[in-house]
Symmetry: C2
Subunit: 361 residues, 2 copies
């Protein structure tokens, strides 16, 4: 089942052309446009072979060929050439990473936007990976009926909730609660909060039992939830300009995926740190598969642990080389900026000298 060099070249040409125009590509168009000094008949027979091997398919008898998921797979894995970002594109990306952005969530959000601007597909930014351990808790007294509960995780991410109460509290009580939290609950994940721990916490809270219960409920919710509010999706509109999504039913299935934001967390299971992954709709065995849709994403790591991702959603017929190049460039810069890492991955032709900061601990 090996592909000859010629077959590879033809497959690549077909996919390149299809990505560009969206039309099924016939044998004739290949002979005309390119470096093949072969007749259409020869190409035709080669394409026939490729179809038999599962790389191409025909929408109907007398149309050109279209890549299958398998076709795209070998394309992104080994066929496609490297894309070099242009000046304007680098400017857009560098602008976001220029260090002006001080708030992490916003940075991710803007990052996704920029990628969307360059590639013209929908993008998503996701923060808050699998429940990492809690480093410590902080509280802020707001007024006698409410307070802010802050969870600082070991991986540097932060979650907080504004909690409203029926009863009233004092700063002192809040301080007690904070101490108790840090003594009993730090370093625990959601499923490690068992009866023993709960009792210990309630004991420390003395007579303020109902307050303790509320606090525990909030903590539990914060630990468990994948913090769905931290999934940002942008540029969904753009998808409507691609013919494959004009179909209402198909677009509906995409949209409903977007509304179940927690499903983006599942993506993380497929994440390989420091590497851009491509998930193809159809036939690839995974729950994220949507017909005619492609996902490309790059995990963001902090201290070797995956804490989020930034990615692109578009038609399966996507300009993968451009998307992958953008994500690679960006993810490297983002990871660096968020984590202030020891190692700096050099990315193709760094258009601007990036600031390198050493973590000083």
């Amino acid at each position: 089942m090996e592909l000859s060099e010629r077959k590879k070249a033809i497959l690549k040409s077909v996919i390149d052309s299809y990505i560009r125009t969206g039309d099924p590509v016939g044998s004739k168009s290949l002979t005309e446009s390119k470096q093949f000094s072969l007749s259409s008949a020869t190409i035709r027979s080669e394409m026939n072979d490729l179809e038999a091997m599962g790389y191409l398919e025909q929408p109907h008898t007398s149309a050109g060929r279209v890549p299958t998921a398998q076709g795209y797979r070998t394309y992104v894995d080994s066929l496609m050439e490297k894309y070099f970002l242009g000046m304007e594109e680098l400017e857009v990306l560098d602008e976001v990473m220029s260090g002006k952005m001080v708030e992490v969530g916003k940075l991710m959000d803007e990052a996704a936007k920029a990628i969307g601007q360059i590639t013209n597909y929908a993008t998503f930014a996701f923060m808050g990976g699998s429940g990492s351990a809690v480093d410590r808790y902080e509280t802020v007294f707001v007024d006698e009926n409410s307070f802010l509960l802050i969870m600082i995780c070991k991986d540097g991410t932060i979650r907080n909730r504004h909690v409203k109460l029926m009863e009233s509290i004092t700063p002192d009580l809040l301080e007690t609660a904070k101490k108790a939290l840090n003594e009993t609950l730090a370093n625990l994940s959601a499923d490690q909060i068992n009866l023993t721990v709960i009792l210990e916490f309630e004991e420390k809270m003395g007579e303020h039992r109902s307050f303790a219960t509320t606090v525990l409920r909030v903590v539990h919710e914060m630990l468990g939830s994948y913090d769905r509010e931290k999934v940002h999706i942008d540029g969904v509109t753009k998808l409507l300009s691609y013919p494959e999504f004009m179909n209402v039913a198909k677009f509906q299935s995409i949209l409903s995926l977007f509304e179940q934001r927690q499903r983006f967390a599942e993506l993380m299971q497929h994440a390989v740190p420091g590497q851009t992954s491509v998930i193809l709709g159809d036939s690839e065995q995974n729950e994220f598969a949507l017909p005619d849709t492609g996902f490309v994403f790059h995990p963001i790591t902090v201290g070797g642990k995956v804490v989020g991702a930034i990615g692109v959603i578009g038609p399966q017929r996507m300009d993968y080389k451009k998307v992958v190049a953008s994500l690679d460039y960006f993810a490297a810069g983002l990871t660096e900026q968020i984590s202030l890492p020891e190692v700096t991955t050099e990315v193709q032709g760094t258009h601007e000298e990036r600031k390198i900061t050493h973590g000083g601990e």
Copy 2:
């Protein structure tokens, strides 16, 4: 230009029918179904009058009539009958308001979801109205490279940002910054931060000038932004099941509105506290107008000030009576739960005794 009773009845019947089926309604269908002991010819001439007055229109010569925006307007203002929520519907709504939900943002979010579930339209929940004055600032030291900046507003809302720094800080420095912020910047809105204030703040920060600048930038950003992350939209998918949105172009215009979330803040200008508003697409003079689209929303107030809203987006041909009833019921309950108000508005046949809490200050 007064409408006779008979014209009103006919207009109401037309709209009711159109809302139910989505088909243009002809004279014949009215004579068949209902209480009119009139021939189709008579109805026809009445409808002709209504069309001349601008309440109805015909998609084309030989179709039935369809309501205009003006038609809907009089319908929602004076024609439609009151809708009484059914048991199951009340259960869905009460479930959310049952007091289990302690976090405000989440509460709003769930509220919108519940309304969507009942009405089958898209919903939105919006928090953080026009930039209200800041009561005080709080800070939390996270690590030597980052901290949390918290802004507690007079209206009880809270905004916070996790700020990453290039330089390093100490808890002491942070404490200084917090004091300086509260002394110079409390009670100011974004446009009141002028050079005088800035200089004063920087002076208080002594030699840590660059840190001061960063802090000011974040504060400015927090004050200015309408906190777009607090706009939750849910159930967009549902819109795709209505024929008026099957058209790609139309759906696209809706979607792109959704992506400019800050525009929901503009809605607040039209908000009348304690009252459900209906904004009709087309022809009504306001920037929110989208063809064939209707907005219904109810502001949420805290201490008499509008801090957010919860609402429904659907086809102009919406079941207004049901939507308005749901929103009225919900908004009353929500406002109560968020603000613990002195006055409790009694809503139609409260299916479950609502807890009434008196603000104890």
